[in-house]
């Protein structure tokens, strides 16, 4: 790294860098350090036991698995919505545009209660699904529905500017060169959007792992079946088992970090080609 020369456009390089470093330390690094230090009062073996209980493993599997699944489903779904919002002009488009943000604007508990009411066995959709033998509320499927709901805006908002930026004539060029619509989509449009799709996946996935409010109402929270990891952390806190809660939190932190690192490496590799 080289420091910029004296004549920089922005004044006060040392001041701004100083504030940035202090801020990052206070807001990000300090709490994370504390979190990393906290569990070890249990001893190495204690930490290991506390995070390898079957109930904990089930909760971690559920949280990460369903967050990944929901984020994956949001990729085609979000692409479709973002495409329509950018490329087409239709009545009430502005209304539709603000509706996309609703899952973010809503207090998560409100979203949770609304979804539960909708998907409960006597709810509008739940009642329709029940005769088919599909139960959504109080099952892992309910968690999936909630995470798709809260993840969609992340995917849409990540993709929109990229689609807007994508030159339309590239698709026309593909057509004049003999490409079918399918070939244009697979060879021209999707490759151009892959980095943004990965970024959107990361954002939706991150939100999904941490999502609490909208999930706990619809999940039913049955240990080993539909209990998410953040709820387990809360339960341990309520039992005054702070070290155990921190141990679980640390595992989630490391796992999330690994996932994001992987996504970033993948995106960097894609970008270095272009």
């Amino acid at each position: 790294m080289t420091l910029p020369s004296r004549r920089s456009a922005l004044p006060g390089f040392s001041l701004t860098l100083g504030i940035t470093v202090v801020w990052l330390s206070l807001i990000v690094l300090l709490p994370l350090t504390l979190l990393a230090l906290r569990p070890w009062t249990l001893g190495l073996e204690g930490v290991w036991h506390s995070v390898t209980e079957p109930r904990v493993l089930a909760a971690l599997r559920l949280s990460f698995g369903i967050a990944a699944l929901a984020a994956a489903v949001n990729m085609p779904l979000g692409l479709l919505v973002a495409w329509v919002m950018v490329r087409y002009r239709f009545p009430l488009r502005n209304l539709a545009d603000s509706l996309i943000d609703m899952p973010l604007a809503l207090p998560t508990a409100v979203a949770g209660i609304a979804l539960t009411a909708l998907f409960a066995p006597r709810g509008w959709i739940g009642a329709l699904l029940l005769p088919l033998g599909i139960r959504v509320a109080y099952t892992p499927l309910g968690i999936f529905v909630a995470l798709v709901f809260v993840g969609l805006p992340f995917m849409v908002r990540t993709l929109e500017p990229v689609i807007m930026d994508m030159p339309r004539d590239a698709e026309e060029a593909a057509a004049t060169l003999g490409a079918t619509r399918r070939q244009t989509l697979l060879r021209v449009v999707l490759p151009a959007l892959t980095p943004a799709l990965l970024a959107g996946f990361g954002a939706a996935f991150g939100r999904g792992i941490g999502e609490y409010g909208s999930v706990i109402f619809i999940a039913g929270n049955m240990p080993m079946v539909s209990e998410i990891a953040p709820l387990l952390i809360l339960i341990r806190l309520e039992q005054l088992n702070y070290a155990g809660a921190a141990a679980l939190a640390l595992v989630m932190l490391l796992a999330s970090f690994a996932v994001f690192l992987g996504l970033n490496v993948l995106r960097a590799r894609l970008r270095s080609r272009a």
Binding site: P167, D169, A170, E172, A173, A174, A175, T176, L177, G178, A179, T180, Q183, R187, V188, P191, A192, R273, A274
Partner: protein, 351 residues
Amino acid sequence: MADRTPRGHALNVEMRGLTKSFGPTPALNAVDLTVRNGEFLAILGPSGSGKTSLLRVLAGLEFAESGTIAIGGRAMEGVPARERGVGFVFQNYALFRHMTVARNIAFGLEIRPRRLRPRAHEIRDRVASLLDLMGIGDLGGRYPDQLSGGQRQRVALARALAIEPALLLLDEPFGALDAKVRKTLRVWLKDLHDRIGLTSIFVTHDQAEAMEMADRVAVMREGRIEQVDTPDHLYLEPASAFVHEFLGEAIRLDCVVADGVARFPGLPSAVLPTSCRPGAAIALIRPYEIGFIVRPGPAHVVSVHANGPLKRVRLLIGGVGIEVLSPAEGWTPVVGENCDLELSKARVYPI
């Protein structure tokens, strides 16, 4: 080199009565145009004259509401862009940014159904020879973002030529380039066209570009074709006041036509035979087509500037200022004195 040059089978293009509108304004208004085998045709017009619409309708990217197109005798009605075999070079090149230059050029071949697709090594050879033809043989591994404007232009052209199109369409091919590169590429593209002999149509708003490169120029205005002719004829015999003024600087003089002659209110000596219909009319004349008559007359000399082989003379005729170019070695008007003008080269158009 010459034997590796891809040779398309040049086809002619017939457009009849093409009409298309955006809202109330017609983008194309009953356009008839024939492009001959191997011809290099320019479509020239100001922005909004419908020239790009015409090109896009030809390529099948947009559709006319009425009228017909035939390429090489084959009717294009209902034929989608991908089946027209028309090479299109977009104004901003529209390269695929996530593909290398070589992959961009190979695209049109690689997407063909298996039975029509050349073998991998044939595709590689074709790409290599196109890169050579474009003079960018060493850029095959680069990505479009790593190229200059002129290089991207050549890649876009190579990509369009790779599918061996029957017809090549170029939308403002030099629009996005700076003046110097533009000049070099003009000569190069003209030369390339003459070598591969492909029927080509390019759109431009720059009259110098059209006149320099094209075999024939079609001048468009408000969705109509005003005149189609060789650059020489177009310049010497503009069919309308619009064409006359669009092709270069012109002096506009009001006149009145009666009994087969045009008379000018402030210039009693100028009497011009014309076939223009009687009534108020305008006469257009290029600044260097006006001659001086050395005798007192209605033109008052305001200033004289020597400018290389020509001199610029500013005159006032009945309160209207005009600027005349005349050879430096000819008679030099004296500032402050009056003289008469010779207007026999003026062309008279109805208003």
